[in-house]
Amino acid sequence: MFSAIRRWRDEVGDPYVLGVVRVVLGVLLFANALRAARELKDGYFGDAFHWPIVPEALVPSRTAYTVLVVAQVLLAVLVVAGYWARPAIMISALAGTYVLCCDRLEFHHNRWALFCYSLLLALSPCDRSFCVAGDPASLRIGPLWAARLAQLQLSLVYLASGGSKLLDPDWRSGRVILERFHLFGYQAVARGVPPALVDWLARPEVGSALAKLAIGTELFLAAGLWRRRTRIFALWWGACFHLLVEATSRVEGFTWLTLAAYALFATPDVRARKLFYDSTRLRGRMIARAVSLLDWLGRFEIKPWAPDAVKTGRAVVIVRRDGTRATGVGALAMVARTVPLLFPLWGPLAFIASFTKGGEANAAA
């Protein structure tokens, strides 16, 4: 127990990915501040019915609130830009929490989660990559204790959400999810979900099964993200789960916030895999270019090769962490597993690749 705490406390690694998470959180903080500014234009919340958690005397005046909202917008810009990023994200988190406490009518779990992750990220070296002023190359290693705490926060969110549903008979039976489909199915259709699918989802037996699946998913993710053997599947399953929720419900930025938090589970290193491409072939050059543009987590070192006996005939060859090579659909699966935009495709690609000789089974690679 003590050795585990010591390992967590003293763990260091490459904080490159933390910069990506910071940028996403910065964008979400910016969107949140803009929403507050728009609402302020329509009227100051303190002039109407509000329900503060803090004493009324601590609710800011219209002028003070206006200053606060403008400050939140500017701080979010600093967070995204990576300039004075850690103090900016810390102040954003504290200011956001304070505003939440000034009117619980405006309380939303996604906003509270955003401020929690922001505060924890402020305590991590999230300012060493994706900075407008250039990345401080001399600081490639940093402490990861706060990032691990943010990961724990994600598990706590899943545990609280899944646990409360498990204890609720209406949720367990599927009654809640079924009624939600009855009430909001038309919104999903308006967003492009096929009507036949929505009708099918609104069937009692499907609703009941989906409720159990949702509860099981949340509880599985709370633990599955931590186990090395289940992590990649948990990340993929969780990504699909949140994208489905995004398509069928209004959750503000919660989907993107959670997917950003998923990046914290990436191994804290940079360019540990290699992508070799045939620079004499258009296909090779195009794949290399696309991967270098989309490789936001810095997973690949991308290089042209001088064709040898193994690589001849291949546009792209990927060398995994363990030195094994992946080509064809195996290489595609490896790219999908590491490139955030393609990650939803990892599941089917890995399934297909598992029938090939090299497979896609080496989870740690």
Binding site: I5, W8, R9, D10, G43, F45, A48, F49, W51, I53, R86, P87, M90, R104, L105, F107, H109, W112, A113, C116, L120, A122, L123, P143, W145, A146, L149, L152, Q153, L156, V157, L159, A160, S161, S164, D168, D170, W171, R175, V176, I177, L178, E179, R180, H182, L183, S249
Partner: protein, 155 residues
Amino acid sequence: MLHVGPLGRVVFAACWIAGQTTLVLTAPLRADRAFGFRMFPEASVMEIHLVREVGGARFAVPRGEWNARDRSGQVRHFSWRDRVHDKTLAAVDTPPVFASYGLETQVARLQHALDDVADHIPGDAETTRLGAEVVFRKNGREPGSLTLLSHSRLP
């Protein structure tokens, strides 16, 4: 800046985990379950119909609008929506609206809104209490109803 030493990390983490766990476990004690991360807790809908009590009798307040005399006898106009801007609570005499975060949350908010509006209509020298009749369907069940009343506002 923002560097935390080894002991500080352990203390901070212990406080953070204890704090978050407490917030989650005590969520049922708060009417709106705030800070409890209870996503999509219900699929309930509600209708709000306002009433006001004048001299012990209750009168409907269609669409949340009413006229009442002030202390000088002048007739003045009042509107629920002048003070209540929240979309769910402002939906008076409308078709059922979704009770986001659950029925209990919205009922607690409505109770506070009634008290708040009762405190912010000094020009109404007739209304002794504001009230709301709430018709609801919890998670698709048969409709139910309840009545809420603000605190008394006139001596």
